[in-house]
Amino acid sequence: MAAELHVALVAADREVWSGQATLVVARTTSGDIGVMPGHQPLLGVLESGPVTIRTSDGGTVIAAVHGGFISFADDKLSLLAEIAELSDEIDVQRAERALERAKSADDASAGRRAEVRLRAVTAR
């Protein structure tokens, strides 16, 4: 069997990305975790942070994920997030503005969301 993962990145209101991948790196509450084909079945809680998906054709997909879960079984990996955005979709200026706004309004969670978005963009 080809060493491939079938990855589905799903947000609450849409499917953000799905396809074949060789490696997925995500941040769980107990640290970064990398999943490759053949990994033990896994169910973990995700932290807000960028998720890196290395696709089978050699490309890299980076997404900003705000809270959610990672579940893996039978070489099928699902990333569930309430909010998930691909780095290509993120508008840097908007994220920066949101960060400024959150800082001035002292809104910790909004600031964190904006920061995660920016980190995902810089990682691309």
């Binding site: 769980t28 169910l43 809680v45 879960f69 579940s71 039978d74 699902s78």
Partner: protein
């Protein structure tokens, strides 16, 4: 123009204007149903994956959680009623409210105290008018609910169920919403949301003929369940909100269609009446002219003699 004919003409004009409006509303509602249905479909992958994950934790560990443990004696339950903000949707809201009232009655017969949570101005208005207590209510998003709205609704409910009953918490949570069966059929129904019966959730997935592997939990089964169950509840509420929205638009479409049809019929009837009135008027005028000229002829004939 005779007075009667004028009255008919005026009514036809007003009904025509109404018909135009209802026709437009029908078309708007039709397009919104499609949009709402698309949103339901878009939210399905998340819900399915979440259900799978919940089942995995539920069957793969013996973790106890307040959201899954049935209280020994249920003294208080919460009912979440989903209605719409605006009317003009036929029996949509009254059906949902009726279902909620039946459920409340049943729960009260079982000796439970019922706390009512309402989404949508219509339901709130109904309860306020009857001076019934509402624990909490939300409105303003029933036409196009977002996931953030579902979170807003779910938060106090989850909080209430996690609290001890003695401190004002609740033991179970029921939801009353309108299921979108098809364009023509929508059905108000109630379902118990919490405490979650893991066996039932498991059955839902098991029907697809899937055997779940033993999962490794990161960081631990308790933590995963802790994080997972509120999300599951949110996603269920989100789904119910979306279905209610789709149902509301379908109900509006149907109500507006029959309003348009009725207006058309009314216009036909009124046009016939107006025609009859016009005809009667003409007949009368002719007979007046004939009568008048006959009288005149009689009079001149008389003067000749």
């Amino acid at each position: 123009m005779g007075a009667q004919l004028r009255v008919y003409k005026r009514r036809i004009r007003s009904v025509t204007a109404t018909k135009k409006i209802t026709k437009a509303m029908e078309m708007i509602a039709a397009s919104r149903v499609v949009k709402a249905q698309r949103k339901v479909a878009a939210s399905t992958p998340y819900a399915t994956e979440l259900t799978r994950a919940v089942t995995a934790v539920g069957t793969g560990s013996n973790t106890k959680h307040p959201l899954t443990t049935q209280a020994e004696t249920v003294t208080r339950s919460a009912v979440l009623l989903l209605t719409s903000d605006r009317g003009l949707a036929g029996a949509f809201n009254s059906n949902a409210i009726k279902a909620a009232e039946q459920l409340t009655e049943r729960l009260e017969r079982e000796g439970k105290q019922v706390e009512t949570y309402i989404v949508g101005r219509r339901g709130v208005a109904h309860y306020n008018f009857r001076e019934r207590k509402i624990a909490e209510s939300w409105s303003g998003f029933t036409d196009e609910p977002t996931y953030a709205d579902a979170k807003k609704v779910a938060a106090p409910l989850i909080e209430a169920i996690e609290k001890d009953t003695a401190e004002g918490g609740v033991d179970e949570l029921h939801i009353v919403y309108t299921e979108f069966v098809s364009m023509m059929t929508q059905q108000a129904l109630d379902a118990q949301l919490l405490p979650l019966r893991l066996e039932e959730v498991a059955e839902e997935t098991a029907t697809k003929g899937e055997i779940l592997p033993l999962f490794d939990f990161e960081p631990s089964a308790e933590d995963v369940l802790d994080a997972l169950l509120p999300r599951y509840v949110e996603s269920r509420i989100y789904n119910a909100l979306l279905q209610s929205a789709a149902s509301k638009h379908a109900a509006t479409r149907r109500a507006m269609k029959s309003a348009t049809d009725n207006a058309g019929e009314l216009i036909n009837t009124l046009s016939r009446l107006a025609n009859a009135a016009r005809q009667a008027e003409i007949t009368q005028e002719i007979s007046e002219i004939v009568g008048g000229s006959a009288a005149l002829a009689d009079a001149t004939a008389g003067s000749d003699r």
